[in-house]
Symmetry: C2
Subunit: 169 residues, 2 copies
């Protein structure tokens, strides 16, 4: 199960790759950015920056808990009123080249994924983000892949591209 | 890969069952206790109680971080000096019938497991602990199973049996 989508960011075409791991119940994702590893780290740990890019287009993000350090926690709500979706987790590890955190969609409170983000320096001011989302069943992983999650992922990363292009990160 | 060990606690024989999941890189463990779910919850969340039973016999446990609530964190050191082993993680969720936490052995700092403990009320003051440890590879899971981890697990639970029998929980 492979989903590859292409978005145009200024002069550059950027591709996000989302794959179901063949042997473990995990989603593997890679995405290249015109950013240094330090910038990607900042974009994932600075509360105000994170709120400006995460999630799909046109959805208001409210961060309700943010303590981006090893042993800290996070929570945010997307949308508002009855059309809002909550997410929360804890930060297992926050270090310059790697963030490990748990992830729960509040609509399915017993579902927990373990996410590992790594920032691979490609040189020349470019960085490859590797994201591994480990689920506790293949059924849960496949349901997540079928949920349309790639829309929010890709729209979010396109917003991050714009912030990077604008010098905001 | 199944390991079943039997320990005698007073008049009762208690069996801990440790199994490799056949389809996902996880260890599944069940263990019955002469305890209510509330007592097992307390034994896993009260810092002083936890330090009295976790780990193998004859090893000094020093809890260096303890915030047993949803979004909190934990760390402890087993042994002392050069023969000490550190472990740490964050608490994704702490609720009466379920604890979800991350787990890292500091000797292998990039290895992270996602642990889910549930307390199943069997009635008559007995509770079955279910523990799921989800790893990010079968190799890592199998190495952990081969490490002799069942010794510390079983000796720890036998200490918890004694604390329960003594009315200390």
């Amino acid at each position: 199960m492979t989903s590859t989508s292409t978005v145009t960011t200024g002069e550059r075409i950027t591709t996000a790759r989302i794959e179901a791991d063949p042997s473990i119940p995990a989603i593997r994702m890679t995405r290249d950015f015109a950013a240094t590893p330090e910038q990607l780290f900042r974009a994932h740990t600075d509360q105000d920056l994170f709120a400006r890019w995460v999630g799909p287009d046109g959805m208001d993000m409210q961060i309700t808990d943010w303590d981006a350090r090893t042993g800290g926690s996070w929570a945010y709500t997307a949308g508002s009123g009855e059309d809002s979706y909550g997410f929360h987790g804890c930060f297992h590890e926050v270090r310059n080249d790697r963030i490990v955190q748990t992830f729960t969609f509040d609509g399915e409170p017993d579902g927990v994924a373990l996410e590992t983000l790594t920032f691979e320096d490609l040189g020349d001011g470019r960085t490859r983000l590797h994201a591994l989302s480990l689920c506790d069943s293949f059924e849960g992983r496949d349901a997540w892949l079928r949920s349309g999650m790639e829309v929010g992922v890709n729209e979010g990363y396109a917003k991050l591209d714009s912030l990077l292009a604008d010098g905001a990160v």
